[in-house]
Symmetry: C2
Subunit: 309 residues, 2 copies
């Protein structure tokens, strides 16, 4: 709707926020449909055209594990790496070799805050996951690449229940010790609520990793993502992950709703007068377009409200 949202600031919030777009990687890897390479490239390029400055492009995971992203090198080859930041996920040294060969300039590594998820998802334990990340981080840094560390299950784990902030902080501290520069703390199953955000950040503070190195990654499985963003903004966080059109499901709940939709995040930030540089109606159209290609309704209330169901 024209003229909405109206802009009203809240005292003490940041002036600008970086939106870290994860749809092409975190979103598409969790969708049942396999999107063709040309559509993926067009999707990423159109996201950049909407003003998104960081679009995680793909993952150099084993194609046998995630067939949705088997074309990682081809996707990266189709992008203008000077026009925007296009980090790629790298699960191990083999993935790093492929990412380097494909010309990646930034990578992300992935560990869990919980032992049980490390076992279930990565087939190792927490120590093992960090040992796996160590040479990846070292070699990426030596090659001049930026390195982000995803920490999953920071708010809750489907097996262990609630996750203690101190356990997350310990993982952040260990990754920082390896040289990881920035961190994305993920509520992978979407169970976190607003008060937990401050408790988690207070625990991370004690590792010496400053808040300007922390991004928050919320899932909307229980509808809490934007309430948690408000809590993050109050705590001074200035980077949030989101997925265009809410791409990506949640593997551990009966809901199809996973990632926070970028459009819903940008609506909130615009209303708060916080600059993101994103053209919201254009972005909603991109999500609508991709949804039509995929035969899928966007999981974004803003997209639905703006473009119809």
């Amino acid at each position: 709707m024209d003229g909405f949202p109206a802009v009203y600031r809240m005292a003490g919030l940041p002036e600008r926020v970086s939106v870290y777009e994860v749809g092409p990687r975190d979103g598409l890897q969790a969708e049942a449909a396999i999107v063709d390479t040309a559509t993926k490239i067009e999707f990423v390029r159109r996201l950049v055209d909407c003003g998104l400055k960081t679009v995680e492009a793909t993952s150099f995971v084993a194609p046998s594990r995630v067939p949705q992203l088997a074309d990682a090198a081809e996707v990266l080859a189709g992008l203008d790496l000077a026009a925007a930041r296009h980090p790629v996920l790298v699960p191990n040294e083999r993935g790093l070799d492929r990412a380097l060969a494909a010309g990646a300039r930034e990578i992300a590594v992935f560990v869990s805050a919980t032992e049980r998820f490390a076992r279930e998802n990565l087939g190792t334990d927490l120590d093992g996951a960090i040992r796996l990340a160590e040479p990846v981080v070292a070699r990426a840094l030596a090659a001049g690449l930026g390195v982000r560390g995803y920490v999953s299950m920071c708010f809750g784990d489907p097996w262990q229940g609630a996750v203690a902030p101190a356990a997350v902080a310990e993982v952040v501290g260990r990754l920082a010790g390896l040289g990881v520069q920035r961190f994305s703390l993920g509520d992978t199953i979407g169970v976190g609520t607003a008060g937990q955000v401050g408790a988690l950040l207070a625990a991370v503070d004690r590792t010496g990793v400053t808040r300007d190195r922390i991004a928050l990654h919320f899932h909307d499985t229980y509808g809490q993502a934007l309430a948690n963003v408000i809590a993050g903004l109050i705590e001074g966080i200035t980077e949030f992950d989101a997925s265009a059109g809410g791409l990506g499901g949640c593997p551990f709940a009966k809901s199809a709703t996973g990632n926070l939709a970028t459009e819903d995040l940008v609506w909130l930030l615009r209303g708060l007068g916080i600059e993101t540089g994103v053209d919201l109606p254009a972005l909603a159209e991109v999500s609508r377009w991709l949804g039509q290609r995929m035969g899928r309704q966007p999981n974004s209330r803003v997209v639905t409200a703006l473009t119809g169901r």
Copy 2:
């Protein structure tokens, strides 16, 4: 999921919050399906059994205008008015006559914060709407009934765009002058964002109506409802309207998503350690049950996550 949400308090928020359930009235009046009287009565009773202390039961609007609620008197006759508060909406004196005859103990009146919506929805202007409310409020108070005033379009209007907080405050002040005791400020089209909540409440403060008389009524059309609840809690508001299973659409957007779902609200409040007295899994089951009766998916992320799609 067992053990979720984990409880983490945020400093400065209230200890307790009243959930004002509007599903049987505001929800059902906006649904295309007409629910039979026995199911409505069972729905309200089951909501009370879940611990909801206030369940707005129906509306004594003209049956020709809202056939969904044509059985208002029969619904009220089927309820135990001593077991919980069951306010009813009353649009005019004819409705009040019917509500009094049916034994209602609390009523709600309804006005718009904008001239244009008064014309489009009520067929009058703002002065006309308040003149219409005046004898209803006076007679209800004289009969010893509690009176709530709904003010709609407090954040935005589909024709006029953003609504100035001062315009809302003026309507609140005029209704308070008639003797209206409590107020529900509604974001009828769901366009409001968190900063607007504080600005609106600051404007209302200047009327002399204190915040313990104010409830906030958010719609989730753009996914902002819970972020706005956080802002309301920070501002000291202790009553929020919500609709079980997100019953009720939004008439002025392409989205089917209207009222904030009670389950999503209660999940947030539980996570913040704020007492509501509501049994959340039981409530999600009630919404699932009604959805099956109506052939409709609940519009609540918590219901979907807990009970499946």
